[in-house]
């Protein structure tokens, strides 16, 4: 079974043999809702570690491994390492908008018979609201090990209030995990949402068609580009024409993607968005954590910030917030490229 990757958005990496830089291990279990946890073949048995895992954001599906995830440094927060410790003070509310759970939460139909997800939840009938909590299921306090992952699809999704014990779902989780690695991106519940196949297929193919025409489906005057972030369950779109400079763009992206990082709070424990924007962009660009990159007309991935804003909006096809380690190799290339271009 392939081991899914862990991505720690709140910078609470635990020590593991997976080449993670040991980071602050704060126990944020109390404040953050449990998350689905992807397993890896190490450190699971570590209880301390598991506490952290409870608070980590995961995208995974049982046994899933999304293609662009590479084993690598984890424990990176988008907006600065020094915010990690503050995650305790963060409210779980950003998760409210975290709809990804839904999609990610369902075991892959492609892989196994729909039955394999039947068990999830309904079967075991929790009567309380918390049954929902499975989505971000912290699978397990203790032994969750193996399984982890997975948001066993159950009914959840929304922001679960304090983590509910989900041990009862453990067995379910294991079943789910046994199903190998479905492509994370496409895991869905069979027949949900309830839309006729004909409509799903037609509209989907139209989406693709329009996407291929270029980013802007709208009339001239808008310049929508997709923005993706490593480990985020869904992409966003921004209209580059709405911004006049890199600062504004960064600030907007920060707002947009803040829901993916619990550690987004400022040092006062408050979400200090505006004040952080300058610093964050710098953090983005100069720290080794996350880097803002874009794909230009030639299909090359470049570091954002090198060229004048107008040139950037002309050539930018899509944006990507990449993990620091991957982007490091990128920067020199980007510099070379802009040198040759200029």
């Amino acid at each position: 079974m392939s081991i899914p990757l862990e991505h720690d958005y709140i910078g609470l990496a635990e020590t593991s043999s997976m080449e993670r830089s040991p980071e602050k291990i704060s126990s944020s279990s109390s404040s953050s809702p449990p998350r689905a946890i992807e397993g890896n073949n190490s450190s699971r048995s570590n209880n301390t570690v598991l506490n952290l895992k409870e608070t980590e954001l995961r995208l995974g599906l049982p046994g899933s491994q999304s293609p662009e995830r590479k084993p690598g440094p984890v424990g990176v927060s988008l907006f600065g390492k020094d915010l990690e410790n503050k995650s305790n003070g963060c409210s779980p509310n950003p998760l409210k908008n975290f709809v990804f759970g839904a999609k990610r939460g369902f075991s892959d139909v492609i892989d196994g018979p729909p039955g394999n997800w039947v068990f999830s939840v309904n079967g075991k009938s929790d009567v309380d609201l918390g049954k929902g909590a499975v989505l971000f299921s912290c699978r397990g306090e203790k032994n969750n090990t193996q399984q982890a992952c997975l948001p066993v699809p159950t009914k959840i999704v929304g922001v679960p209030p304090p983590p509910k014990p989900v041990q009862e779902n453990k067995d379910q989780v294991s079943t789910v995990n046994e199903h190998g690695s479905p492509p994370a991106a496409k895991a869905q519940v069979v027949g949900w949402p309830p839309i006729r196949s004909y409509r799903k297929n037609t509209v989907a193919s139209n989406l693709v068609k329009n996407g291929e025409d270029g980013e802007g489906k709208s009339a001239a005057g808008c310049l929508y580009v997709k923005v993706s972030m490593e480990g985020a369950p869904y992409l966003r779109k921004v209209d580059l024409k709405n911004y006049n400079n890199y600062t504004e763009l960064s600030s907007a992206l920060e707002k947009m993607f803040s829901c993916f990082t619990i550690g987004h709070c400022s040092s006062n424990g408050l979400p200090g968005r505006d004040g952080l924007s300058e610093r964050c962009l710098k953090d983005l660009l100069h720290s080794s954590e996350f880097v803002l990159t874009y794909e230009d007309k030639d299909g090359d991935w470049m570091l954002v910030g090198d060229v004048p804003w107008e040139m950037f909006t002309d050539t930018c096809r899509r944006l990507r917030i990449k993990k620091g380690s991957e982007a490091i190799g990128l920067a020199p290339t980007a510099m070379e490229k802009s040198k040759t271009q200029n």
Partner: protein, 585 residues
């Protein structure tokens, strides 16, 4: 009849007077033949034997909501004069791939009986049935009077079958092919209509992908003077559309092709003229790949528009707003969620007569949520469209308060289908379950016939439904409820319940068996991914011999677990065409 009349005259004792109707049968039949609604006819047939007979002789159209509830022989025996048959087959959840491929609902057994008993059959309307090319060919050659074929959500056939229909049905007036699992082998079927063929009134091939020969289509449209419904597919360009409209300004329903060709200003003018000549269009659909810049060409045709189906047209909110200004008579609107709340606000502002709204998601799996509608849009519509009584709304977030507001604004809902696409999602502002939302719906909307619930729901929702939804006929439930009690509330409390479909809920045998008495008054019950066991289903089957209890097993699941259960009343006994994966208990 004469003997009856004589008997009436000759023995007018009071018993016979009260027993006999005061009309001769022929008169009674004549009167009853004016009844169209099958529900009325059902009621009529229960009055007395005479009325039963008069009704059965005068009935020309039969509606069978579940093809397995009755056999073709029984139907033919009761109704000798049928000209038109409507049949529905698979459980509705087959639309969402929950029913195994080879489950059944094949039309052929019916055709074989019809060819003998109803040789003058004119119309066949099928929904969720399986129909093969062979059956289509058989149909086309066996019924010389055949006029009207409508296939919705069917599968098992290809465009070759359509070719057979086009070739052989000399009197065809309607060919309506919608959203089927059709094997599209090309558009040559359209060329099979003979040049002498002129009777077509309805042609709908909007959901077929392949190109058709435009010249053939144009000639067909121009010679079928009675054509009133034309819904073409994406392969038809704007320029071609203009030519078709020029031939058929009498159209009442139009489905355009692709709406995005680059037009010269002359062509643009011509198109606008063509639209303005179509004074009778009340239904508009298609608009595939719509480029908003061409929408103004159709404004002239929108004055009488009552139904606008934009569910395949990805319009933005502002674009929709501009279009709606020209559609003051709109009663039904279907859109994609690309219009967002902004578009829905425009709906509220411009469509005071709106009765039905459906909002479909362009991207149900939400990889890139660039567009969506929220509770704000829902409220905006309800503020402006007080006559709204049918809603189908796909969204990712909702609040109890919003739904309460909506039903306060629009208390006349008959169909309320809210799909919060994230299973088990609570009210996102309060984190509470959505119980109160649906409670408000059933309390306020006393005429509610159809309800689909979603979001995080406890048994309380079902208590509300059982207590208040006294007119409810169809209920769809997914990922909801806390215990058997929920389902029991519904089964005990909703006297008019006919269809209950449940998936992924914690309802078990106890709930199933609590409805023993109920299922015979219902058309069907579907339960999948619940807590049913084979034993529970067996118990049901044992107690209620006039129900068919079908269990569909999944591979690799627990032996005793009943993964998918379909229960329906029938007078035809257990069916004999079930595949091995379907167990009839």
């Amino acid at each position: 009849m004469d003997s009856e009349w004589k008997r009436f005259r000759d023995s007018p004792n009071s018993e016979e007077l009260t027993r006999r109707s005061s009309f001769p049968d022929e008169v009674l039949e004549r009167v009853l033949s004016l009844l169209n609604s099958h529900k009325d006819r059902s009621s009529v047939s229960l009055v007395c034997k005479d009325w039963y007979n008069a009704e059965r002789w005068s009935r020309t159209h039969v509606f069978i909501g579940n093809c397995y509830s009755v056999s073709p022989e029984i139907v033919a025996r009761r109704f000798p004069n049928i000209r038109s048959v409507t049949l529905k087959g698979k459980p509705r959840f087959s639309d969402f791939n929950l029913v195994p491929e080879n489950w059944g609902a094949d039309i052929h057994a019916w055709l074989v009986v019809f060819v003998v008993k109803y040789p003058f059959l004119e119309e066949l309307r099928l929904k969720r049935m399986v129909i093969s090319d062979e059956s289509l060919e058989f149909l086309s050659v066996s019924f010389p009077n055949f006029k009207s074929l409508s296939l919705l959500s069917c599968d098992g056939f290809s465009t070759n079958g359509l070719a057979a229909i086009a070739t052989h049905c000399k009197n065809l007036t309607e060919l309506d092919i919608q959203e089927n699992g059709i094997d599209d082998r090309g558009g040559s079927w359209l060329s099979c209509f003979p040049e002498s063929f002129t009777s077509l009134e309805v042609l709908n091939f909007a959901n077929l992908a392949s190109d058709v020969n435009f010249d053939v289509l144009e000639r067909l449209v121009s010679r079928c003077k009675s054509l009133r419904v034309l819904k073409v597919n994406q392969s038809i360009s704007l320029e071609q559309l203009q030519r078709l409209l020029a031939h058929a300004p009498q159209l009442t329903e139009l489905g355009t092709g692709s709406f995005s060709q680059q037009l010269t200003s002359h062509q643009d003018e011509e198109l606008k003229t063509a639209f303005s000549n179509c004074k009778n269009i009340h239904t508009l659909s298609g608009l595939w790949d719509v480029k908003a810049i061409y929408l103004p060409t159709l404004y002239p045709a929108c004055a009488n528009l009552t139904f606008l189906n934009l569910s395949y047209a990805a319009l933005q909110g502002g674009e929709l707003a501009k279009l709606l200004v020209h559609c003051p008579q709109l009663r039904r609107l279907w859109v994609l969620d690309t219009v967002e709340d902004k578009g829905l606000e425009a709906v509220g502002l411009n469509c005071p007569l709106l009765e039905e709204l459906r909002v479909f998601p362009i991207d149900p799996y939400g990889e890139e949520i660039a567009h969506e509608v929220t509770e704000a849009g829902f409220i905006a519509v309800s503020n402006g469209c007080r006559r709204l009584h049918y809603v189908l709304y796909f969204c990712r977030q909702m609040t109890n308060a919003a739904v309460e507001t909506v039903v306060r604004n629009c208390p006349n809902f008959t169909h309320f289908r809210l799909c919060i696409m994230i299973p088990g999602r609570p009210d996102y502002t309060t984190n509470e379950p959505m119980d109160e939302a649906f409670g408000a719906v059933v309390k306020t909307c006393t005429k509610l016939q159809r309800l689909s619930v979603s979001g995080l729901l406890t048994d309380l929702t079902f208590e509300y439904i059982g207590k208040y939804a006294k007119n409810l006929e169809t209920l769809s439930v997914a990922f909801a409820g806390s215990s058997d009690w929920g389902m029991q509330c519904v089964l005990e409390g909703c006297p008019k319940l006919r269809k209950l479909e449940i998936r992924d809920c914690p309802f078990g045998n106890k709930a199933l068996l609590s409805g023993l008495e109920k299922y015979e008054s219902m058309r069907s019950l579907w339960m999948s991914a619940c807590n049913l066991t084979l034993n529970g289903c067996r118990a049901l089957a044992r107690e209620m011999p006039r129900l068919n209890v079908e269990v569909m097993k999944e591979d690799g699941s627990d032996e005793s677990h009943a993964d998918k259960v379909y229960v329906y009343r029938t007078v035809a006994g257990p069916r004999r065409d079930a595949p091995p994966s379907v167990l009839t208990l």
